[in-house]
Symmetry: C2
Subunit: 411 residues, 2 copies
């Protein structure tokens, strides 16, 4: 009988398995983790640009492929990478089994191309682990209760890794990426940006939703819900990365700064709708019409002018600009507003930190720092652990730098 070991989950993205040499390097990393004495489950994405190439070949057949057939097509990408990684590990002398999403028991709903995981039947995975196999699981894909192949949409492999870690009660889930971890801000803007050692789920969620790109929101939400400890680290070195866990488990609290990170997003457009009647139901009809078109609205502010008419401003993602324009033009007569205006010259800067909950005056300090540098604030939005300001786009690099310095994040 084999004594029970602790399971760790390691997730590698498409760039980490971009060619056969990289696959061999990933195999070495996996074996190292096995040699330390863990049971290892690896989740991989499709190699490099495979998914884009498959999308391209489908576009030569039709502009509107059915989503079911698209998932049938795209899921081959991970099936190639799991088999190659498994071969590489076996060639190094270790027992290894690759599993498609279906074989790994990842059951999803039938929303093809953006499916949600409903449940994981982990019988097969547990059997293979008990037989001392290293397990390679295809990320991004699952199977519907009807037996059809589905994919989880963008960031799906992260979600697979977290879900597998949850169902196997893994010690932690390591997300290997091309950076050393989560940084206090974008190192391309602030050279003094430092790697964050530990973060709570809520902080990571706020960072991810306000502009940090290292982890997908959905995977973090899943990890929070199931208490899966995440470790975001580089696939190119052995450095410790960023640990993400329950706030109570964070051990660095004593020395924790009030703010853990500064983020920004230049992909926003500010929409202002003028001359709205100041009566109940107007906002609901406006945002109801936008929601019906699946348009994500970020910040919203409303002012009432002295003449009794209201102005509502909100921000959207720049890719939705034409759709929003169409919706507003259709609404104009019906809602009886004077005009609207679309301003792509804005950006959002945010500060995030669980520490602000116990330190009053953080917002005031942020506004003061911006004002002292002649940066005008056009919109404000807050959560218990985040403050976001919409400012002019050409001021965003300056804003990030001075906020990073003022809140003592420069390393």
């Amino acid at each position: 009988m084999r004594t029970k070991k602790e399971i760790i989950v390691m997730k590698f993205g498409g760039t980490s398995v971009g060619d056969t040499d990289k696959i061999k390097r990933v195999a070495e990393k996996v074996i190292k983790a096995k040699e330390i004495g863990n049971d290892v489950v690896v989740v991989v994405s499709a190699m490099g640009k495979t998914t884009d190439e498959l999308i391209d070949i489908a576009s030569r057949i039709t502009n509107e492929p059915s989503r079911r057939e698209m998932d049938m097509l795209l899921s081959t990408g991970e099936q190639v990478s799991i088999s190659l990684l498994s071969m590489a590990i076996q060639a190094m002398g270790y027992d290894c089994v690759s599993l498609t999403g279906s074989q790994a028991g990842i059951l999803t709903d039938e929303v093809y191309s953006n499916a949600k995981i409903l449940n994981i039947n982990n019988t097969r995975m547990i059997k293979e682990i008990r037989n001392n196999n290293i397990l390679i699981v295809a990320g991004f894909q699952g199977i519907t209760t009807g037996g059809d192949i589905s994919t989880l949409g963008r960031g799906g492999s992260d979600t697979t890794a977290v879900a597998v870690a949850a169902t196997l009660d893994a010690k932690y889930c390591e997300i290997f990426t091309d950076v050393d971890g989560v940084f206090s801000t974008d190192p391309n803007i602030v050279v003094e940006a430092g790697k964050i050692g530990q973060l709570s789920y809520d902080e990571m969620l706020e960072l991810a939703s306000s502009g940090a790109k290292v982890l997908h929101l959905r995977a973090v939400e899943f990890a929070k819900k199931h208490g899966v400890v995440l470790h975001v680290r580089s696939s190119f070195n052995d450095n410790e990365g960023t640990w993400i866990m329950d706030d109570e488990k964070i051990t660095e609290k004593m020395e924790r700064p009030i703010i853990t990170g500064v983020t920004y997003d230049t992909n926003e457009v500010k929409i202002s709708v003028f001359g709205l009647k100041d009566i109940p139901g107007i906002a609901s009809r406006l945002f109801g019409a936008l929601a019906a078109e699946n348009i994500n609205v970020d910040l919203i502010v409303q002012n009432v002018s002295e003449r009794g008419s209201a102005t509502i401003s909100f921000t959207i993602k720049s890719e939705d600009i034409n759709l929003v324009k169409k919706v507003l033009e259709n609404l104009k007569e019906n809602l009886d507003f004077a005009d609207f205006n679309m301003d792509p010259g804005v950006a959002k800067v945010s500060i995030v930190g669980a520490g602000m909950q116990t330190h009053p005056g953080v917002a005031a300090r942020m506004f003061e720092v911006l004002a002292n540098n002649d940066i005008n604030i056009e919109m404000i939005s807050t959560s218990p652990i985040r403050i976001s300001c919409v400012i002019r786009k050409d001021k965003v690099r300056l804003a990030v730098k001075i906020l990073h310095t003022s809140f003592k994040l420069d390393k």
Copy 2:
């Protein structure tokens, strides 16, 4: 309620779905068959050179990939082609569903890379057909009872098509290929070669096993066992091809020639083992040792010389020559024979036809025709409907021509 239609199975090989334009042409062919009023099930191979490319990428990982992982890898090839063909058919306005081997219920044994079909669970296929869908099934692949992906080896897509036709009780199974059907001999050698209208399973089996390359032996055996009518035809035109069925069903019998085809095989090597003791058990030990190394032996002849020692000659495929040499060298001491000789300068020419069963003297006529043209016969082998002669390789084109003419096959 839909009235029950007759099901036809259409199989397209890799060259027929080699690029997206060819896939669209296949889609049109499939829709035409549906429009006539059939239920249509399509079996497809991987696109063009996909399988070779996947084998190549695996070889960059390891020289000895496990067969399970190789099947995991190779099966992606058909998964790509079924999804693309399904998209193409849907884009032309028809309901269509693609199914992997696993989804189509094709259960195999666990001999990865050369699996045999054990059973087909056709529940899903029948459900989709009842819903008036055109069905696209991945050829070449299946699933083991343990839930692992397997492949059927070379010619596997033909076998899938025949097996699917059998389980669905299809009216017939059409094998689309790059020639117009089965010919009376190789048109590259004999310009007067004609397309054969109808063939019995046994004739097709003898033609396939003695050199004709249009259909795989295994698929024909499967069709014979389950009584599936085959139609071999071109994917580039709408011409009638060659029908293959039970001998009793053949309608052309009245005008049937005694011989239906002349085949040849230049891929043979003649081995002669001299000075064997003429005692029982020698042949069994010799061919037992060859069988243990999976060497296929074709023709065998044995002569006893006046001095009481025997000579055994047999033919093998030329790719096995080094292996056979090793086996014979190891056996030499043990079996106590004088020497052996390997002659790659031979070829086999065969005549095939169910008619020879009722026409005595066919063999004598074949030998006479060859003798009249100074072609020496080195070995002879016969079945009830086939006669094969091993001759010098440089005489094979002449032999094929004169036999084709003598047996009145020139069109």
